[in-house]
């Protein structure tokens, strides 16, 4: 009987220890200030190109996370990407002429949506839609543009020397 | 016959059983009866399927053909539940005791009781200590199985096998590897348990002399069949080749000394 009691105590301590470790991992090494699915409202935005934006990416205003990307789909009427965002309830005074842009954290970091407040005194409500948007910068396009403009200049200068 | 009253004289009836494993025939038309309240011995040279017979009776395996009746129930046709119900009325003593290694002697004997009943602890205690007293090991109830000698382990296993007062007690090689004293103890217990509890016992063994002291009826198996049966005394006097060879331990006879081989001289000269 004594032996089984010791076993029970040791086992209990082990299980508690395991759950403590799980609790530590969830609360201490993750950024769990905001969880999608809490009270809040949804906003929509249409983009030509969302780059590598993923569900769960942060929506931030001046660097503060105010929400998360909830879903991403493709609109076959307008041929645009539709991004739905879940905004935390306490950020309920976002002007309805604010703009949303897809930005990159750091040089090669993950992408997120940056919202810049507008000047309207009307605020976004559930289901509101951003009118002004800016697409993701795609590195290949940037490089292509750069190469094109560079090549253009080069041919210009070549023509000049011909003359 | 199948629906006869439970007072049929035989507790176990093996009827024309065929069994083969891996293409090798173990039984070819085995028929034998185990009468109620008696000690029946199953003997035979090694490899004749004595242990297989026990596995048939306890429903661990099913015969290819034929019937195995225990208490008028065909074991091979029972559902798992019915088989388990039947097994609750059986007790079996294994060659090495087969005590559960992580439990004390007391808990081992209490195990079947705890598993199948909800008796209060005080009653379980009385029951277990009574059975341990019967095998003379009440003082050892605290020991763990690894602290027991071979003979003691077998006695504890016997206490466990009879703790729920079974109708049928099966002994698999109960004398193998025991010193003469332990052997005597087991022999006496075998007889006493059978008579005191009015149960039926089946003993598988090839210790001819020991069996002769206790068995009411003996069967000798060979070649997948019963080759002789009767009281041990009658068998001793049987003059047919194989029985005589087996009962007297002669090295050569119908069971050949030599494993089948090509001609000795031919092989040597090759």
């Amino acid at each position: 009987m004594q032996q089984s009691r010791t076993t029970e105590i040791v086992t209990g301590a082990f299980v508690l220890f395991g759950f403590a470790a799980l609790f530590f991992l969830v609360t201490q090494i993750t950024n769990k200030e905001f969880t999608a699915g809490g009270a809040g409202y949804s906003l929509l935005a249409n983009f030509e190109n969302i780059g590598s934006l993923k569900v769960g990416a942060p929506v931030s205003m001046s660097g503060v996370t105010v929400g998360r990307v909830e879903s991403i789909s493709y609109d076959m009427q307008q041929y645009k990407a539709v991004v739905s965002m879940h905004i935390d309830a306490k950020y309920n005074r976002i002007p309805d002429d604010s703009d949303a842009s897809i930005m990159t954290a750091g040089l090669l970091g993950g992408q997120y949506i940056g919202v810049t407040a507008g000047g309207s005194d009307q605020y976004f409500k559930e289901g509101g839609k951003f009118a002004i948007v800016q697409d993701a910068l795609v590195l290949e396009n940037l490089i292509n543009q750069l190469v094109a403009s560079f090549a253009g200049k080069k041919s210009d200068s070549a023509e000049e020397t011909k003359k | 016959m199948l629906n006869s009253s439970p007072t049929t004289p035989n507790l176990v009836e093996i009827r024309d059983v065929y069994y083969s494993v891996g293409g090798r025939d173990i039984f070819k038309g085995l028929t034998l009866n185990v009468p109620r309240g008696k000690i029946t011995a199953i003997m035979g040279p090694s490899g004749t399927g004595k242990t297989t017979l026990l596995r048939l009776i306890t429903g661990q395996i099913r015969p290819t053909r034929g019937q195995v009746l225990v208490d008028d129930q065909d074991v091979s046709k029972l559902s798992r539940r019915a088989l388990y119900a039947l097994r609750q009325r059986m007790g079996m003593l294994f060659q090495n005791g087969a005590l559960l290694t992580d439990m004390s002697v007391f808990e081992n004997v209490a195990f079947p009781v705890r598993e199948h009943t909800d008796l209060p602890e005080s009653l379980i205690r009385n029951l277990v200590l009574t059975k341990l007293q019967a095998v003379g090991l009440r003082g050892a109830y605290k020991l763990m199985p690894h602290e027991l000698s071979g003979g003691m382990a077998r006695r504890v296993a016997l206490a466990r096998a009879m703790v729920r007062d079974p109708h049928l007690l099966i002994y698999d090689e109960p004398f193998a590897g025991l010193d003469p004293i332990s052997m005597g103890v087991i022999l006496r217990l075998l007889r006493n348990v059978n008579d005191a509890l009015a149960i039926t016992s089946i003993v598988v063994s090839h210790d001819v002399d020991e069996i002769a002291q206790v068995a009411d009826l003996s069967y000798i198996l060979a070649g997948g069949k019963v080759v002789a049966s009767g009281t041990p005394k009658a068998l001793k006097e049987d003059q047919s080749g194989l029985v005589r060879q087996f009962m007297n331990g002669l090295p050569d006879g119908p069971v050949p000394f030599h494993y089948p081989a090509d001609d000795y001289f031919k092989e040597l000269l090759a």
Binding site: T11, F14, G18, T35 | T58, Q60, A98, H116
Partner: protein, 253 residues
């Protein structure tokens, strides 16, 4: 050659089928096994608490090595400040669950397999059958459950200790800033990552425990048979863990 190959394939499929039946038989006994929590607690103790020392020791050293190597590698790109996030992600998503499962197979899995194999070899399992006690309920299911519960917990402990090890080397010894270390880690590790590690721990727990009890149960009832069963337990658990790891990662990324 072709014949041998088909035979091998046939054997593999047959083994898979046998182990699936085995799992179903265990699962059918799980509710009744749970009615006797004492047995399951005893097995959590055997599989979990007794593996704690080896899990913690190895977790600490894996973390410390990760700190050294991670720092050395990241320093070449001038980004040793992300040591926290790199090491934590590696531990949470891959190293923790996999290494914990391998250690579990070596420590608890072999113990399970040899214990059940010995019970088979000494007729204890048959004796239970004869006593009308299903060994699946009394022996196999509690051991399986014990392993399934223990491994995810061990995995979490391994990861937590591992991060402590990384921190020990990275921050205390190599001088990565404490605040940067933790904030970088928090910035990149998501709750989903921890959940992925937990799910892996659970899946590996099922796989390793199942393999261990299966190998023990079907072991040949001889000394060599039990020895072979423990060997097969370690080998099969390791291979299965890595295959499953790839599959889960592919599905969840």
């Amino acid at each position: 050659m072709f014949k041998a190959l088909t035979k091998l394939l046939g054997n593999a499929v047959a083994a898979f089928g046998a182990i699936t039946w085995f799992l179903l038989r265990i699962l059918s006994q799980v509710p009744r096994a749970l009615l006797r929590p004492g047995l399951v607690i005893h097995q959590i103790h055997n599989a979990g608490a007794l593996s704690l020392v080896i899990i913690m020791t190895c977790g600490l050293f894996v973390g410390m090595v990760l700190g050294l190597q991670g720092y050395d590698m990241l320093e070449r790109f001038g980004s040793e400040s992300s040591l926290g996030s790199a090491a934590a992600l590696a531990l949470v998503k891959e190293l923790g669950p996999v290494v914990a499962a391998l250690l579990f197979a070596g420590r608890a899995g072999t113990a399970l397999a040899s214990e059940i194999g010995l019970m088979r070899a000494t007729d204890q399992l048959v004796a239970m059958e004869i006593m009308a006690v299903d060994p699946f309920r009394h022996v196999v299911a509690p051991r399986f459950l014990g392993g399934v519960i223990a491994l995810p917990l061990l995995t979490m402990i391994f990861i937590a200790i591992g991060i402590f090890g990384v921190q020990l080397v990275g921050v205390q010894q190599l001088g990565v800033d404490q605040g940067t270390f933790w904030s970088q880690m928090r910035g990149s590790v998501e709750v989903d990552d921890v959940m992925q590690g937990l799910i892996k721990g659970c899946v590996f727990g099922v796989a390793c425990s199942l393999i261990a009890v299966y190998e023990g149960y079907v072991a040949e009832p001889t000394a060599e048979g039990v020895g072979r069963a423990t060997t097969r337990t370690v080998v099969n658990s390791a291979v299965m863990t890595l295959i499953l790891d790839y599959m889960i990662t592919a599905v969840m990324l």
